[in-house]
């Protein structure tokens, strides 16, 4: 049992929080994990990605080879296309339809969405709308984790327990917002299956 996941987005969108939730869940399920992340300069509004590998056997490389990722989980529309060459032919894409426009020539959104749709492997989610419904626009990352959860080798209970652990320090209200965001994302993806 193994799964290689590319997490992607823009610095500040909470990519690393998704990664920590998955790391903790992997520990709860006693899986091996390796998770390479980006710190420093790129975190200032630049493209941010994390390679996350889960397995019941020893994992060697911190980086996923090209063409080997099972899942591309992205919190931003354009960033999804940056990592397509990592995906294996059976891989799945779970992405937000929401653009993060902090560059001068952001491409046409419809064109980006149709390029992603054309892969025939994508679930596209309105994470902005669902995060507001959950109670906080910053919970888009957990919406996307929920949307991806149907494709993860980690079960729903383990993931929600991990979300609880990650946010419990910030109070019960934040725990509930993030759990709701997770559930809304999961439901939205289920409809598209």
């Amino acid at each position: 049992m193994k799964q290689d996941i590319i997490l992607a987005g823009v610095g500040g969108q909470g990519i690393l929080s998704i990664a920590y939730t998955l790391d903790q869940a992997a520990l709860l399920r006693n899986l091996y994990l390796k998770q390479a992340e980006v710190h420093g300069m790129a975190q200032r509004g630049g493209a941010v990605q994390s390679h996350l590998r889960l397995s019941d056997k020893v994992i060697y490389s911190d980086l996923i080879p090209k063409g080997k990722a099972d899942l591309l989980l992205c919190v931003e529309l354009l960033e999804t296309l940056r990592y397509l060459d990592f995906l294996n032919p059976e891989g799945r894409i779970i992405t937000s339809r929401v653009p993060f426009k902090n560059i001068p020539e952001y491409p046409d959104e419809e064109n980006l969405a149709s390029r992603i749709r054309d892969t025939g492997k994508a679930v596209i989610i309105d994470s902005d709308k669902l995060s507001r419904e959950a109670g906080h626009p910053k919970s888009q990352n957990m919406v996307m984790l929920g949307a991806a959860s149907l494709d993860l080798i980690l079960d729903e209970n383990t993931l929600t327990e991990s979300i609880r652990l990650l946010f419990e320090g910030k109070g019960e209200k934040m725990v509930n917002i993030n759990l709701k965001a997770f559930q809304l994302g999961r439901d939205a993806a289920a409809v598209q299956k």
Binding site: G11, Q35, A36, M41, A47, L84, I103
Partner: protein, 532 residues
């Protein structure tokens, strides 16, 4: 004990604490910052250590030397270019007869994710003739840091632990072992710490004589592992550090794995390499960083009868970071099919945060400089280096910590006017004070802008040493004329006033220092949330 999920940096920090650490020292720098961050976070939870951010890496190293002198265990961590700053104490400490274990952790940044070069610190360990440990994974990062203290005390010299970005900033599970207590106080006797020529000559001879013992240590270390495949005598692989992971990734089936020498302890274990070379026709060397091992093996004549492949032969890229795909190619396996390439995507470079004070400083500076044809802006290392990118394109240079001040002086000496330096408060404290003293002594016709945001912002908001009133007094104390020390507040509403101040000081025929002072927006937010 239960497994913990740790960054490579954190595994090093925890290993040091469990090895009986008395005190740790560092200056922030990606990818090494999280070592000290974690040492600080562990205080009161694990161990009884102190943990200190220092004003620069040289100071950090020397403070660590003081701890070692007292017979206690100490760790000093920095990024690769930080060791250039600490090179003086590091090189000399190899002959001081280290007392308490001194472990230097250097995090290299191949691929330059957040650095101005990708120098390979193994050359520094070789230069100082000390042991270097290069973990391949998180468990080794923990275990080897613990062992590094024992080696340091046994060999009475500093030991380097070399990390690279991909290990420093990757998370994995680590099993910990029972902690050890701190050393007691033990002041050294004799003259070994006084490096007068009479002592240094004797000690250097002893260092040279100790090399055979270091070689033996490396050749017998369990971290250097040779496994021979008797069914394959054509190719053998030498893989060091995380290069080992990329090789293993491509040979998950152990039956197919060629003979493999994993190197994680230096000096280079020559005897193990010879045994591998005798077994195969071709050696492929896979190492992250420069072709350090490959060069050594090739030497002038190489190994007669053996083909040596690696970076020098073009089988692996000589610049940038290794990855499983580059190693796969060197092993001449075919790449996996993927569903599409990712070209034609606009890049998304990092940028200054919304509301960042540097934006207001650069806007004012750019406006003033429109009136000058020859202006040059010498800048430095920090968030404000992003001012080099559009839309500001406000700075012309970035070389190394503190160079903005000294280069602005040199530029002025050469006749550039206005010759402007732009440096952050922490970088100024790190390496800007001494060159400003130089400029003040001759009242150089230059303008230094110190962008004071009261934190080491790029690396995550570590504390700074010279900000606000201390900074102003420091500049005055150096001898800059108080009339030409100006304080401005970089805010949109002050743009016109700030332009006036900058213009006046550029027109002053002598040294001016403008302190542009407003707190980092990220830091202000953290403070309001109570995270600081």
């Amino acid at each position: 004990m239960q497994d913990e999920i740790l960054l490579g940096d954190e595994a090093v920090a925890l290993g040091a604490v469990h090895a009986g650490l008395t005190s740790g020292y560092s200056y922030p720098g990606t990818p090494a910052s999280e070592i000290m961050e974690y040492l600080i976070r562990l205080q009161g939870k694990e161990g009884s250590h102190q943990a200190h951010w220092c004003v620069n890496e040289k100071v950090a190293y020397e403070e660590a030397l003081g701890v070692s002198y007292a017979g206690k265990r100490t760790i000093v961590s920095m990024k690769h270019v930080g060791l250039n700053v600490a090179a003086d104490p590091f090189m000399n400490s190899s002959i001081t007869r280290i007392n308490g274990g001194l472990v230097l952790v250097v995090a290299d940044d191949p691929g330059m994710h957040s650095s101005q070069n990708e120098q390979d610190s193994r050359y520094f360990a070789d230069f100082a003739q000390v042991v270097c440990l290069e973990p391949a994974n998180h468990q080794e990062a923990y275990d080897m840091t613990r062992i590094a203290f024992d080696i340091s005390e046994k060999m009475q010299m500093p030991v380097m632990v070399r990390l690279v970005t991909r290990l420093a900033h990757s998370r994995a599970r680590v099993k910990t072992t029972a902690p050890r207590g701190e050393n007691g106080m033990k002041i050294p006797e004799g003259r070994d710490w006084t490096l007068l020529p009479v002592n240094a000559r004797r000690r250097f001879k002893e260092l040279v004589e100790a090399q055979s013992e270091l070689k033996k240590l490396s050749e017998e270390s369990g971290f250097n592992q040779l496994s021979l495949n008797n069914r394959n005598e054509s190719i053998g692989i030498i893989a060091s550090g995380i290069g080992y992971n990329y090789v293993m990734e491509n040979f998950l089936d152990t039956e197919e794995r060629p003979s493999l020498l994993k190197i994680s302890v230096y000096p280079v274990p020559d005897a193990l390499i010879r045994r591998l070379a005798e077994h195969v026709d071709t050696l492929l060397v896979v190492e992250e960083g420069y072709p350090f091992i490959e060069r050594r093996i090739k030497g002038l004549y190489g190994i007669p009868g053996t083909i040596i492949q690696g970076k020098l032969s073009g089988h692996l890229p000589e610049s940038g970071e290794l990855n499983p795909d580059a190693v796969r190619q060197a092993l001449t396996l075919f790449g996996e099919k993927s569903i599409g390439n990712s070209s034609e995507i606009p890049s998304r470079p990092p940028q200054l945060c919304r509301g960042c004070p540097h934006i207001d400083t650069f806007k004012a500076l750019n406006t003033v400089l429109e009136d000058y044809s020859q202006a040059s802006v010498f800048s430095d290392i920090g968030c404000y280096t992003l001012g080099a990118l559009p839309p500001y394109q406000a700075i012309d240079t970035c070389v190394c910590m503190g160079a903005s001040v000294s280069m602005a002086k040199g530029g002025a000496d050469a006749g550039i006017h206005p010759s402007i330096g732009v440096i952050g408060d922490s970088t100024f404290a790190h390496s800007g004070i001494t060159p400003l003293l130089d400029a003040a002594s001759v009242d150089t016709n230059m303008t230094l802008v110190i962008v004071d945001n009261a934190s080491v912002a790029m690396t995550g908001g570590q504390p700074t040493f010279a900000t606000g009133e201390i900074l102003r007094k420091l500049v005055a104390g150096i001898g800059v004329d108080e009339k030409h020390i100006r304080i401005i507040t970089p805010l949109p509403k002050n743009l016109e006033a700030n332009i006036r101040v900058l213009k006046e000081e550029m027109e002053h025929n002598g040294l001016s220092v403008i302190i542009s002072s407003r707190e980092c927006v990220q830091e202000a937010r953290r403070r309001k949330k109570g995270d600081r």
